[in-house]
């Protein structure tokens, strides 16, 4: 109880908790779940973009996309490392993902159907991710907060690249402009869902905010995202697929239409449009790579034995 009080005081004081510090089990569990979920999202998130990598329409775009996906893999890597400081191994986390016990962002269960989707993911999905993540740079757990600093910097860069891709396409042929609008039509609502269930149905929020694992509510962040994104859509010259969207002078915010929460919960349950494909791809990569990991481990062990024998 004295430990707990001291812990709560440090958190309330915006100090960082470090791996060797005492922390409540629930804090450890919640953080592990949140960070590993974030790591999984980075890794699974490589797939929808990877789907167009081999079909990127110019050498420059191919290189940009490749570098972007590589950054995501890098984020996944240091997020797994951050989570490991809490006592769960990367293998355990990956197995939980493959067993369907761990979640990842719902957004990656939607298909990428044309090249503009690559831009839309950068602009909308990374944009939404940034909204979620910027406050986490000051989250209470040190390794997570530091990881977030690097992640946010790179995500901002990706968001600008995505927007730039769409701008370029909007200057192009009618077919290209139609692709951009089509991408917007398909990604808008799933992007809003990325902020999670509405506040009145978000059970863990209060404690997470008290622990500085979360610093703003789902609905606050969602509103911020809408407010920031709508003018960008106008600048692009595309329509937001929401007839109820309008500026509310009084609130100083955009009002927007009702989200289809049935769809959201179906996707959370693992029934998203391409959820089966995503999990199959990840499991296949892992299972088919087992012999490589085993070989590398066997070789390392043999080298270590040789070094020991030589010493």
């Amino acid at each position: 109880p004295a430990l707990l009080a001291a812990f709560e005081a440090r958190v309330a004081n915006d100090e960082f908790i470090e791996p060797k510090d005492w922390m409540p089990e629930a804090y450890r569990r919640t953080l592990t779940r949140q960070i590993s979920q974030h790591a999984h999202s980075e890794i699974v998130g490589m797939l929808p973009e990877g789907n167009w990598l081999t079909r990127a329409p110019s050498l420059k775009r191919k290189a940009i996309l490749l570098a972007k996906i590589q950054d995501e893999g890098g984020h996944g890597l240091y997020l797994y490392c951050a989570a490991e400081t809490l006592g769960t191994s990367r293998e355990q986390m990956i197995e939980a993902l493959h067993a369907g016990k761990a979640k990842y962002s719902t957004i990656f269960n939607y298909p990428t159907l044309n090249w503009a989707d690559i831009g839309a993911i950068g602009w909308l999905v990374d944009g939404a991710a940034i909204m979620n993540q910027v406050p986490l740079q000051r989250t209470s757990y040190g390794p997570y907060a530091r990881a977030m600093v690097r992640v946010c910097k790179e995500e901002s860069f990706h968001q600008r690249q995505g927007y730039d891709l769409l701008l370029e396409m909007m200057k192009g042929t009618p077919e290209q402009r139609a692709m951009v609008q089509d991408a917007m039509n398909r990604w808008w609502w799933p992007s809003l869902m990325m902020f999670g269930p509405p506040d009145d149905n978000s059970p863990n929020s209060a404690q997470s905010i008290r622990w500085r694992i979360k610093r703003e509510t789902n609905d606050e962040l969602r509103q911020k995202f809408v407010d920031a994104t709508v003018p960008q859509a106008e600048l692009l010259g595309i329509t937001v697929p929401d007839p109820d969207l309008q500026w509310n002078e009084e609130r100083g915010h955009y009002d927007f239409g009702a989200i289809d929460w049935n769809e959201f919960y179906a996707v959370v349950r693992g029934e998203g449009p391409v959820a089966r494909e995503r999990m199959k791809a990840r499991r296949a990569a892992w299972d088919e790579g087992a012999w490589v990991r085993e070989a590398a481990a066997a070789w390392e062990a043999r080298q270590a034995a040789r070094r020991a024998a030589a010493a």
């Binding site: 079909r55 329409p57 110019s58 996944g76 890597l77 192009g172 990569a285 012999w291 070989a295």
Partner: protein, 250 residues
């Protein structure tokens, strides 16, 4: 001489482009995240080299084609890459066997091209040779680790090398045009490179406790546009957008 130089630059650029494209197929599907990242690294370097070599090829041709036009609007028979780089990834051992042989070759080649009489080639080679040294080392490490790893990885690496071994003559093939460029100090004399590369390959295989496979009947033709069945399928995927939307900019 300009057409010879153009053809030569296509050979250099297409090798990097096609192998880079193949490595892109691994993205998100590699055995570990670390491997995924290193394969992306290789692919990025190769796409970058392709952009430089093909860009220069377009300038030399002076027909208004830039690197993208050359990459996305040629048919399979107009590609000049060696057969090795267009072979499918197969499993990770096969990918690494292919990478090891190609990077060992490319390293020796670029090393020589750093002192090409053509300044632009020398410049591109000087940049690329640093990247490729890393590729060759990385691939050699994996050849050793898999060859001397478990029984399964060893079997797969042997099979992977076997799959590639038919394409070695093609890798070093030179025609009269290229020989003329070599005589002018612009191109490298691949015949002179071969023993170097072979020595390096032998050394790594020894370290991997593997023996050099014998040379089976050699399949050639990549440098003159006679490819395997795989290239046209690779291109159908790679070129689909520029082909479906001629004239569009991206």
């Amino acid at each position: 001489m300009n057409d010879l130089l153009f053809q030569y630059l296509l050979r250099l650029g297409d090798d990097s482009l096609i192998l880079g494209q193949r490595l892109c197929e691994w993205c998100g599907h590699a055995p570990t995240i670390e491997v995924d990242l290193s394969l992306s690294n290789l692919a990025l370097d190769l796409i970058g080299q392709a952009t430089l070599f093909l860009g220069y090829a377009g300038e030399v041709e002076s027909g208004g084609r830039d690197a993208d036009a050359l990459a996305f609007h040629r048919d399979a028979e107009d590609f000049r890459n060696c057969l090795l780089v267009e072979q499918p990834n197969g499993d990770f051992a096969r990918t690494m066997a292919r990478q090891f042989l190609f990077s060992s070759y490319q390293l020796a080649l670029l090393d020589r091209l750093c002192s090409s009489a053509d300044g632009r080639i020398a410049e591109i080679a000087a940049k690329a040779v640093k990247e490729v040294r890393y590729h060759a080392d990385l691939a050699a490490d994996w050849v050793v680790r898999l060859g001397d790893g478990t029984a399964e990885s060893r079997g797969r690496m042997i099979e992977g090398l076997d799959d590639c071994w038919r394409f070695l003559d093609d890798l070093f093939a030179m025609d009269d045009g290229e020989r003329a460029l070599a005589a002018a100090g612009i191109a490298a004399d691949k015949a002179a490179l071969r023993p170097l590369v072979q020595g390096r390959v032998e050394q790594v295989l020894r370290q991997a406790t593997l023996s050099m496979p014998g040379l089976p009947w050699q399949v050639t033709g990549g440098r003159t546009g006679r490819h395997s069945e795989h290239l046209s399928r690779l291109l159908a995927e790679m070129q689909v957008l520029p082909r479906a939307h001629p004239g569009a900019r991206w």
